[in-house]
Amino acid sequence: MSLADAIERFVSDGASVALEGFTHLIPFAAGHELIRQRRRELHLIRMTPDLIYDQLIGMGCARKLTFSWGGNPGVGSLHRLRDAVENQWPRALELDEHSHAGMAAAFCAGAARLPFGVLRGYLDTDLPAHNPNIRRVACPFTGEVLAAVPALNPDVTILHAQRADRAGNVAIEGILGATREAALAATTLIVTVEEIVDTLPPAMNGIVLPHWVVTAVAHCPGGAYPSYAQGHYARDNAFYKQWDEIARDRPRFLAWMQRHVLATGDHRAFLASLQQEAA
């Protein structure tokens, strides 16, 4: 299935969508396709909203954001996210804000189909006062009061991975972040991959998402760029630094999105347009 078809078929306006990947394997191609297809009112979920969420938010695709850290790692702010929160541009953005540990517990609960996750966390912070999704639960054995978060069960989780086989088994190698839990927590799971192979290499204790938990696989080489795919290509740290300039300014941001995303038909054309610009 092509990525465009998968997004068309499985992601509707208003859906809750988690594009996971922790610095590594961020599904940029899929995010761009959401923008091209002009999805609206999305509830975006992601521990670390990255450039791709900055773009989705800046293009007005999102109604709500569930997250735990929203910056450009090692660089600074996500200016489109800031503009949405500080100035409601291009629209207001509802925040469901957590800590990493809390959001990880929420994904784990979602993957296990439990209604809530438990952690020793959020102690004496101001987050619970601003988020009704952070509550307390008492241990039925010791009486100790712990933090609780509701399970995260995205309508759709979208990942990028190195490879899938023809049956739809997906193998991931390297830094996982919360990808596996986000995948297993979702109702629908779409995975873009660098390559589709006849048979996956032996996994034993490696990370495999079995075919019957995967809804659709789309072959999309380079689909994580400017993030990276371990063993395939490196993270383009220079692009992450450039983005700070591009995103700082509304017109420049819109022009960049027009030229590289809206005016390109697919991820291959997106990559080509960047290459052309660099040449």
């Binding site: 610095t23 670390t48 929203g70 790692p73 090692g74 540990a101 912070t125 839990e181 371990q230 291959r268």
Partner: protein, 264 residues
Amino acid sequence: MSACTRDEWMTVAAARLLKNRDVCFVGIGLPSAACNLARFTHAPQIVLIYESGTIGTRPDVMPLSIGDGELAQTAACVVPLPEIFSYYLQAGRVDIGFLGAAQIDRHGNLNSTVIGPYEMPSTRLPGAGGAPEIAQHARQVFVMLRASRRSFVERLAFRSSAGYLDGHGARARSGAAGGGPRAVITDFGMLAPHPESEELQLVALFEGATVEEARAAIGWPLQLADRIDTIAPPSAHELDTLRALHARTREAHARPVRIPLPNG
């Protein structure tokens, strides 16, 4: 020693606090430099954990992001992120957690969430990330933060992670497992909590830095410890090692990444 920047001095001062077998939960930037400097100098067996899931990582260059491929390739193993927070941090297996922030108050509480009201902030910061639970569980927290009256403040706009709360044992009474911020390394020297009040006080100055300079940079009336140590400048070996690390890192990050455009 050759002339060095305050960032370099901060990094060296933080590195010196680390012991050879410490397990460190490392953030990006100055803490990452400090931990790796320690590893390349006096603490070769230090264990570095990055929240992305890499355990016992030994990068040759510093990562730009918390999840660069270098971290995974050189790790003892890479685990799903939830396990880092539950099986390692929450389980009390982290000796040292490094934190930065936009604001710190006199009791080491930190703000990395918003300036202004939460619902309508003047500045939306990235958010707490791993900090609330690092602050809660790590045996010790080291804060690295350049000093100014905008960052060392009388009152936080938002408490993203807990230090000593209002001091005087409030943290211990809260049930937090970890020991709280034992050191704040900043660009004139170091603050540490007073044993009773748990108010951050000046405990050490970089050689050449002054109490006046420190007071000018701190947004509350800074108290002085009974004894103020002098932090020796970076040695030639420390500085050479750190600069070589930075040079390797710059070179690696400047290496152009080929856009992964498939052929044909």
